[in-house]
């Protein structure tokens, strides 16, 4: 006892929470140690011949492959594109590698690939290299996709959590937890109009509107795995500030909160796949929100909190006027008994 999760990989190692972090510290960072990796941003910022580039890679495993609002293909393009965008880069090229399960229907694979193509085309983003392998995993829906993206970094974009200062404002570009709730609803086989729709979408249009404010933006992230709470906890720790959030300002759609209630999970820990989390100077914050609201899908953008001096903790000011701490997720959110 007390030894669990120490000797073998268990599924909680892959949820972006505490165990994922421990795995990074214990195995990956000591071996691959270098200045770019040390930054641990959403993308690595590298320079070549005076040109600043951003490079990122992400692997996608999602069950089911098709869900309300998207599919694994769209997700694989958006996920990598968004990591580049929130790093202040314009995506230039994408790679796509597939690990196909023996037994998968070709028509199903084609649907996934077409969805990738549509999403990439809409962004004028070429998928310039790829790879396929087949594994006999026994489960024909075990499709895994890896995408890598390279983009050029806008010179005005100098994002880093270390730049966060007390008084800065936290902005989110819409409702939170939609994607995570949509996946949970699919797994529960809930259907119909009132079930959550994934927010899976590229953040490129949103980034266009944000460009004039890049000078006042300290850092951007997309709150995917681990949701809003985990992403902000990482930023607060890296920025060595406390973040105080207002529950009443954070928009959780009724259908998302219904699913979260049923399963006893906290929507703040459910993934979004089409939202930007921005920490900016207070002077530009309201202009940023106004600009974001003009982008379709980001109408619900709002300021949800502010930074203050502290040691890297997150506090949530509840609707009733109480305050509670948000901690890093340990283990995938599990449905409760009662």
């Amino acid at each position: 006892m007390g030894k669990n999760a120490h000797d073998i990989i268990i599924s909680s190692h892959g949820d972006g929470g505490l165990l994922s972090h421990q795995l990074l510290q214990e195995i990956f960072l000591p071996c691959f140690n270098n200045e770019w990796l040390q930054e641990q941003g959403d993308a690595a910022l590298v320079s070549f011949n005076g040109q600043k580039l951003a490079m990122t890679t992400d692997s996608f495993v999602v069950s089911p492959l098709f869900f309300k609002g998207g599919d694994i293909g769209k997700l694989a393009v958006c996920g990598t594109v968004n990591d580049l965008v929130v790093s202040g880069a314009r995506p230039l090229w994408l790679s796509a590698a597939f690990i196909l399960p023996a037994g998968m229907e070709k028509s199903e694979l084609k649907k996934v690939v077409q969805s990738m193509q549509e999403t990439a085309n809409s962004l004028n983003l070429p998928i310039v290299t790829g790879d396929t392998k087949v594994v006999d995993s026994g489960n024909p829906s075990n499709l895994f996709i890896n995408t890598t993206g390279i983009g050029s970094v806008y010179p005005q974009a100098r994002f880093h959590p270390a730049y966060i200062k007390p008084g800065d404002v936290v902005i989110v570009s819409g409702s939170v937890g939609d994607h995570g709730a949509a996946i949970l609803a699919e797994r529960l086989q809930f259907t119909g109009e009132k079930t959550p729709t994934s927010d899976c979408a590229p953040l490129t249009r949103l980034a266009e509107k944000l460009k004039p404010f890049y000078g006042g933006i300290r850092v951007m992230r997309d709150p995917t795995r681990g949701g809003l709470a985990t992403t902000l906890i990482e930023l607060a720790a890296a920025g060595a500030v406390d973040l105080l959030l207002e529950e009443s300002k954070i928009y959780v759609k009724p259908e998302v909160s219904a699913i979260a209630d049923i399963l006893g999970v906290d929507p703040y820990y459910l993934a979004s796949e089409g939202r930007a989390l921005i920490i900016a100077e207070a002077t530009v914050a309201s202009n940023i929100v106004e600009a974001l609201k003009t982008v379709p899908g980001a109408e619900e953008s709002s300021m949800i909190g502010a930074a203050r001096e502290g040691d890297g903790s997150i506090y949530l000011h509840t609707r009733l006027g109480g305050t509670r701490r948000l901690r890093m997720l340990s283990g995938t959110p599990l449905p409760r008994i009662c």
């Binding site: 006892m1 007390g2 268990i10 049923i262 509840t318 009733l320 008994i337």
Partner: protein, 367 residues
Amino acid sequence: MNYQLGRKNISHKLSQSLLQRLERLGRQLVEEKGRKLVLMEVCGTHTVEYARTGIAGLVGDYIDLRSGPGCPICVTHQNDLDRIFSLARLEDTLIVTFGDLLRVPGSYTTLEQEIARGSRVQICYSPLEAVETAAQNPDTRVVFIAIGFETTAPAIAAAIKLASQQQLTNFWIYPILKRVPPALKALLQHPMGLDGFILPGHVAAVLGRKAFTFMPDFGYPAVVTGFEPLDLLWGLYNLLTLIAEKRQDVGNAYSHVVREEGNKRARLLIEECFAIEPVTRWRGLGLISESGYTLQPLYSHLNACLHFTMEVSAASTDPQCACGLVITGQCTPQQCPLFGRRCTPSTPVGPCMVSPEGACGAHYHYR
């Protein structure tokens, strides 16, 4: 939408005014007693919701709210966990369970680790899924872990009846369902220095308010309470009123859901499928008579404990772990020497830290 928004606003305003009244009454009682009021809730959802809404912190100056034996995981005996995990290692056997159980540490392992080693475990949201899985996979032995209180029992009873109707020969139940009122009675035998109890609205919805009318016999006022912010405050306010008026009564602050007699259909379903065990072991509380459910003789062919041989060595628990003291209200999670140090949600030593609705898990996450 507007109606919803309107309702939310009204509820918010009501909550604020209720909170003010609660505070006035609370501070007055603190002055009389010369100490904070010590109250106990006995429901995992209350543990979570009082923390999540910030109410526990808001009333913290005058109310010390403790979490009693209300989390099914927390009161499950280590030996039961070890036996369940040993089932997961059997060939051609699939364990179907609610998600909470996945990371609970037994003496040697967790279900999550057993999955990584090749065991088959399916997380379900409804016990009926387990029956469906068994029907679709006749070559697999499916064992459903029946854990919970009177709240989950009716749905599990429905699954038992369905499996029986379908004459499944590959479906079993591992019964560790527990009954809340006998556990409360056992808890009340000991002098606890408590001022009153917040009673679980879900359990009372099944059993009725009258199932708790024994509370005053032990000298405690108690109030059946719901789970929305307004319900949570209303329950506390009613309880403080009883304390102020020195009335040892059982109030119902969740009367829009909880009836005097409870839900008769649900109770009949439970009685039809489950028999009351003479004695059941609880983690932290020890042996309590008539506090658990086993299957009725009619359904005993579905009892995994009778069908499978489970050999496990005596349970080992960490001697420093204070889970037993925590759920009997004798210490707060923070007073446990392991809390937040050796025992965290990712390295839980005791079961109160595993489930987010466990006393320690909720304290760690929300306070």
